[in-house]
């Protein structure tokens, strides 16, 4: 028996449950009640409401990514400069919340936002009653949910960074600011790229957070898709929107890979 045959059960599984299901998106996008048509597809694509929501989701995901990067980079940088044992322990502390059921953590935030914050600041109304308030609340919780996903790859890259390069830069007369911007930052680009991908892509498809924060009065692209499949099922619309989403995710992953092209194996995870 050749060892190759061990992969066969998986290959069958892969075709049945990974590749084949993807075809259903295309099937339902162009097949309405057994008839092949592009009518629904075109109708959905021409509907401005969906594009507005997609645009809002992109902005939200960009905001989340930038804030996560700004908050997460210093965390990873500080951790990577600590003594090994101490850093190991503290970094575990940073990653523990990531393993905690995220729906439950999101629920906790909704309680904090609805009850604790108004109590603390003596507000009579919840901040999620205004549209700006809802936007801020959703952004806050998204940043919360994705921050560890930014810190992890950054920490991995920064702690593997060759410390003698920093010493060399200092020996050659660079001050610490210059060393950071000319040596550390460029060398940590692979970490930044994979952190950004790990935050941006899930953030664009997030639908749990907007559904739970602000009593579901704020919707992102994920919520629209959820709606088209679960709440008011219309598979053709949902499938078309999923195709748009997939194209978008694919393009942003390709852009990210382009920035990372010098690095071998800068995988998504």
């Amino acid at each position: 028996m050749r060892r190759r045959t061990f992969a066969y059960p998986y290959i069958v599984w892969m075709i049945l449950f990974i590749a084949a299901p993807m075809l259903f998106i295309f099937y339902y996008a162009f097949n309405v009640n057994g008839v092949w048509t592009t009518e629904k597809f075109v109708q959905t694509i021409q509907n401005g409401i969906y594009w507005n929501t997609l645009f809002r989701s992109i902005l939200m995901a960009l905001g989340t990514t930038v804030i996560c990067l700004l908050l997460g980079y210093p965390i990873a940088y500080i951790l990577s400069n600590m003594k090994k044992g101490v850093a190991g322990f503290i970094s575990v502390l940073f990653f523990v919340p990531m393993w905690m059921n995220f729906v439950l953590r999101t629920y906790a935030w909704s309680a904090i936002i609805e009850y604790a914050i108004p109590d603390l600041f003596g507000l009579t109304n919840s901040i999620t009653e205004t549209s700006t308030g809802r936007t801020i609340a959703v952004l806050l919780v998204l940043v919360y949910d994705f921050l560890p996903f930014m810190v992890m790859p950054l920490y991995n890259t920064l702690s593997k960074l060759d410390k003698s390069l920093i010493e060399a830069a200092k020996d050659l007369g660079a001050d610490s600011v210059k060393t950071f911007f000319r040596v550390v930052l460029p060398l940590s680009v692979p970490g930044i790229v994979s952190g950004v991908t790990m935050v941006f892509v899930p953030a664009i498809t997030a639908f749990t957070v907007p559904a739970l924060i602000g009593n579901g009065n704020y919707s992102l692209f994920g919520n629209v898709i959820d709606d088209a499949f679960k709440i008011n099922p219309e598979y053709s619309i949902g499938s078309t929107l999923s195709i748009i989403l997939l194209i978008f995710v694919l393009v942003s992953t390709l852009i990210m890979n382009y920035f990372d092209k010098d690095q071998e194996g800068g995988s998504i995870l």
Binding site: M1, R2, R3, R4, F6, A7, Y8, Y10, I11, F17, I18, A19, A20, P21, M22, F24, I25, L71, I75, I78, G85, G88, F89, V92, V96, P97, W99, N101, F102, V103, L104, R105, Y107, A108, A111, I112, Y115, A116, D119, Y144, L147, P148, P202, T205, A211, L212, N215, G216, I225, F229, K230, G238, S239, S242, L245, L246, V249, S267, I268, L269
Partner: protein
Amino acid sequence: MKRFGRSLKYVYLGIMLVFLYLPIVYLIVFSFNQFHVGRSGEADYTNIGKWMGFTLTNYGAIFKGEASRALMLTLEIAVISSVAATIIGTAAAIGINSMKKRSRSIVLSVSQLPMVNPDLVTGITFMMLFAFVNSVLSNVNLKINDFVKLLIAHISFSIPYVIFSVLPRLKQSSDLLYEAAMDLGCSPMQALFKAVIPDIMPGITSGFIMALTMSLDDFVVSYFVSDLRSTLSIYIYSRAAHGTKGVNPALATIIFIPLVTMLLVVNLRRLAKDREYEIQNKKVKMK
């Protein structure tokens, strides 16, 4: 100045840790809160922000009714799916490793699909697949139930994580190991189980743990796949989203304590191992 800079670093890390733990601590604190119990005998957890007095009754409530069923289902699915994913995935990795370059790269790129694909899309595709299969099966009066659907979906999204944590180990391990075992009289199967698998065990273990946590933590895929039965995440979501009676905050403690214990044990062991390794290295260097 330097000391000031250092304490500023710790202050920053501290603030970030507070931010990360705030919701968890919030729930754990309120898990000891008294909630108003309605006529149906079910507590109303919606007003989770007002301290009404200390009690332990919330902990008893977890093990009754829907919450406990959801907890059980989550554990069952997680254990069965991660064991299955580990077996299929490890076998697959061994097979893929001895494939020719071209077929290997095709299999590997398809395997990356569930990892790259947004959960939302994975969930939707499974939902449509099962709807289709069930509509075909209904002709012969058969139906795939929620348990099987959840199982298939969870196995599918876990396998790639197992493969990608076993493969690097296999690359490090020499092909000669397998051949040597056979030269010494092992059958191919024996060679595999006695020589190759022990050598790649760390990869298998980490793949298994990854599969387990992916399954335990999944919400999006399960939400789209399951029609009637609730995993813990679905239960929490439905209780939170539709503004019924809220979620029992004691669930947070029940999840958090085992999790922290497990992670601390794993990491302390790893730290101890690292230190041992360092000491050994020092000894070697001194020689």
